[in-house]
């Protein structure tokens, strides 16, 4: 987190200037992946409950 560069001038090299560019990108990706998997699982559980009421 925080500003990953020495200054804005450094941003004009071919380098990431996003929040997390200094090593956090992978962590953000990992959290996003876990969120998506969790949402699909929760969504499926909710869906099955609704179907079961009509079986």
């Amino acid at each position: 987190m925080g500003f990953p560069l020495e200054s804005w001038d450094a941003a004009f090299a071919d380098i990431g200037m996003f929040v997390g560019a200094d090593g956090g990108a992978g962590w953000y990706t990992a959290i996003a992946v876990i969120m998506m998997i969790g949402i699909i699982i929760a969504g499926n559980n909710s869906e099955q409950e609704k179907y079961n009421k009509h079986q």
Binding site: G16, A21, A25, T29, K50, Y51, K53
Partner: protein, 457 residues
Amino acid sequence: MEEQIAAVIAQAQVTNTFFAEAYYFLTIPLMLLIHVGFLSYEMGATRVKNVLSSGIKNLLAFAFTIVTFYFFGWWFYWALPTGFTGSEGYMAISGIAYANAIALPWGDSAQYMGPNMGDHASGVFWGAFALFAATTASIASGALIERIQTAGFVILAIVLGSFAWIIAAAWGWHADGWLVTQWGFHDFGAAGCVHAVAGFFALGVLINLGPRVGKFNADGSANHIAGHNMMATVIGLLLIIVGFFGFLMACIILPGEAWSWYGGEGTTIYGTPMTLSALAFNIVLAASGGIIGAWAKTRDPFWMMSGALAGIIAVASGLDIYFGSTVIIIATVAGAIIKPCADWLEGFGIDDAVGAVTIHGTIGIFGMVMLGILASGYPALGAFAPEDAATISFTGQLVSAVVMFLAGFVPGYLVSLLLKSVGMLRVPDAVQVKGLDPVKVPAQAFPEGMSSSESEA
């Protein structure tokens, strides 16, 4: 003087770079219209009791495909053009090592997957491809309406949009793709790697999913299940055509950039020369031919607009090199044969609610093979190609068409079989009869009904 010339050249390069970035950026909202169209098309083709469920399914297909294409779909495109070995190809823009360097959202590669002032290309190219991916999921979505479970469908959409089609694209829609270099495969507008893959993926799923309750009678004869709003369906189909302009614009490699094939000429993704003017002729002629062909056969507005799609898909492989009158002939034939082809498929007990297997799959195959017949001998790659590079041929297009069929059908069939075995594929028949919306959607599509009040004026 030399300094002034250098300054002018540098400024021209800045302008070219921003033009290229803006060009691809604008293809993305245009391609989003494909999804607006599919949403309207699919919801219109659904009965009132299921209309919101169809909309939710379509929206989630878009969203999860985009997200997973960021996580791993983009990597497949760059990693596997030469095959599952992941070796580097002749152009040195492929292979696992190359993909690891530019297409993963973690590690050093992440600098090309987010804001980077030195990279005006990765994001817009990724965005265009992500929309291609979402298009494949939308194509399959319509075929499966009114009886597929939502979470199960999301998993299928991810497999199709972030795995199956992009593997096919790596093989046949990349200058290092083995179908291109070894078989001379040419598929400018993705009749194969987008349309045929998505169409036959849907077929694989349909076999395991089964038909909607009430679609077939005990004697095997089929009933027509009408959607609730033909107008929404037809307008949706026309919006898909609008979106196709963005889709096909994005299939061009602009000149003058470090990643361009040439300094002064536009090319296809294979580095073969082409112009936007070629597309202007051929897209509108193809859509028109398809409408006319379908009208001649059916007189039905649903099939007429489906004919427009079929017309474009039938010539998509060669939109860059076909002559306009040739396009009219192929597209008209495509428009005329879609209804008989869809009826033939229905005869096997397949309930494809919107004709997606026929329009995208069968016509995609038809288009790839037609190019092999008509354009045999054209070089498959640009001037940079190795001397032994293959040329376009009937055999090469036919072999590639079979590969595209398998790239869609096999994962569609296997993953849907797995989902079926764990009870995540088909909505129970009792719920289908009651309606999916009242069971699982906390909203009503038409809370006040469809009739308007009598005027007092």
